[in-house]
Amino acid sequence: MKIYGFEMGRAFRNAWFVASVAMGTAIGIADCMLCVRQYRNIGEKALIQTWLGTDYQFAYNSLFYVLLPLIACLPYAGSCFTDMKSGYERNICVKTSRLSYMAAKAVSVAASGAASVAIPLLVNLFVCAGLYPNKLPDKLSFLYAGIIDCDMFPRLFALHPVGYCLVFTLLDAVFGGLLGLVAMCVARWSGSRFSTIMGPFALYVFTGVIFEGDGTGTWSAMDMVNPLQNVVVYRYQMVTMYVGVCIIPLLLIYMWHRRRDIL
């Protein structure tokens, strides 16, 4: 178990983790400030309409969800590549088994990715909760109409907006963690730490563009993880995507680990 503590310590006590959380939080704070500037005195806005995840009025929602893979992978996903290239993994693999090392690496990459996505969303939720009332969504708003068409928690959105925010924060955090695992796979073929981190981002944007289609029943991960649900997402698609993004990287990492006979 020592290796898990070792890897977790490396994942969370590094400048990239702080930078990543700061980047996400800055986007959320910027969104908040814009909301305050425009709607503070009107009093018609609700928490659900100003939270970064469901704020359709400003571009910060799109910015956060486009940058989500970078926010998730920046903290620690590149360490798999750097440990391998620098030979640091040799220091570790003479003190613990290779399988434990890879498992600990995967867990800490996923945990740091999840945390760096969840923290900005939660901070933004707390700040918005301090500024705006937790009213039920306005039924006539575009936002409400968009989400109610979807299969992803429309009742929760309509009746318990904060619950909806928390559920999507959790889903996004899990997705951020899974993207970290994708980066670990990319490290196998990557030539640099930069490309290891950019790999999941490129894949995310590429599939986002390719699979967006006509906007109904989309397979675009970029649209699925956005609580705004601009396009219709069905629950089976979400489940399939999460299971796929979890199983495929884990399988590839395991196969790669099995084939690596020289460190």
């Binding site: 590094n14 030979g87 088994s97 460190l263």
Partner: protein, 216 residues
């Protein structure tokens, strides 16, 4: 410990034979030197001794336990293979402390002792990224000897070190030998290797081509 036995070790990489029928017996309280031309397989033998290489054939038995069958990694080994590598954002002391926690049973005073034995200051506040080449090498050696493991494997340990440090390292290695450790060294400096080693294995084309007992 009862020593290390290497039997019939073989390894191919993409069809190229890297190691072929390597047989060695390494006993505690001795320093073994590996000598040979570049690419002859010295580093691969060292990797296989510490479990970093999974052989296609043969076994490495450490203290009666077969590596990759009974144990996944040696129970007590210190290694410096190729270039030393540490986390650049931390000091030498902190790097060693993190790695020591993985092993367990290595106290802070053991870490300080290892650093001082190699001529590094444990209280040096410079991070690893600011270390010179020689300091990096010293930290690599300190990592290998920290906690005085039963087996110490050093690939080109005196590279980039000044004469005074080389003398200190040699003295420390001889002390560790006298304390009953198995020490394996690869070095291109023939004189240094002969000075340090009790037995020198000549490695050629991935196999042991000869064995020389120094001083006989």
């Amino acid at each position: 410990m009862s020593g290390i036995t290497v039997e019939g070790l073989g390894k191919k990489i993409k069809g190229t034979v890297i190691l072929h029928d390597v047989n060695m017996t390494l006993e505690p309280g001795r320093i073994y030197g590996l000598r040979g031309r570049n690419g002859c397989g010295k580093t691969m033998i060292m990797r296989s001794l510490c479990g970093l290489l999974i052989p296609d054939k043969g076994t490495v038995t450490i203290d009666g336990e077969v590596l990759h069958r009974d144990i996944k990694f040696p129970r007590s080994v210190g290694v410096l293979i190729e270039n030393p590598s540490f986390l650049p954002q931390y000091t030498g002391y902190r790097n060693l402390r993190m790695l020591a926690r993985l092993t367990g049973g290595i106290s802070d005073s053991d870490i300080r002792t290892a650093l001082m034995r190699t001529g590094l200051d444990p209280d040096d506040s410079r991070t690893y990224r600011k270390y010179s080449l020689g300091m990096k090498q010293k930290l690599g050696i300190a990592n290998a000897i920290m906690g005085e493991p039963d087996v110490i494997i050093l690939d080109e340990p005196i590279n980039a070190l000044d004469e005074q440090t080389v003398e200190n390292i040699k003295t420390e290695l001889l002390k560790l030998r006298d304390a009953g450790k198995v020490i394996v060294i690869a070095c291109h400096d023939r004189d240094e290797l002969e000075f340090l080693s009790d037995i020198i294995y000549e490695i050629k084309d991935g196999t042991v081509a000869g064995c020389e007992v120094v001083g006989e």
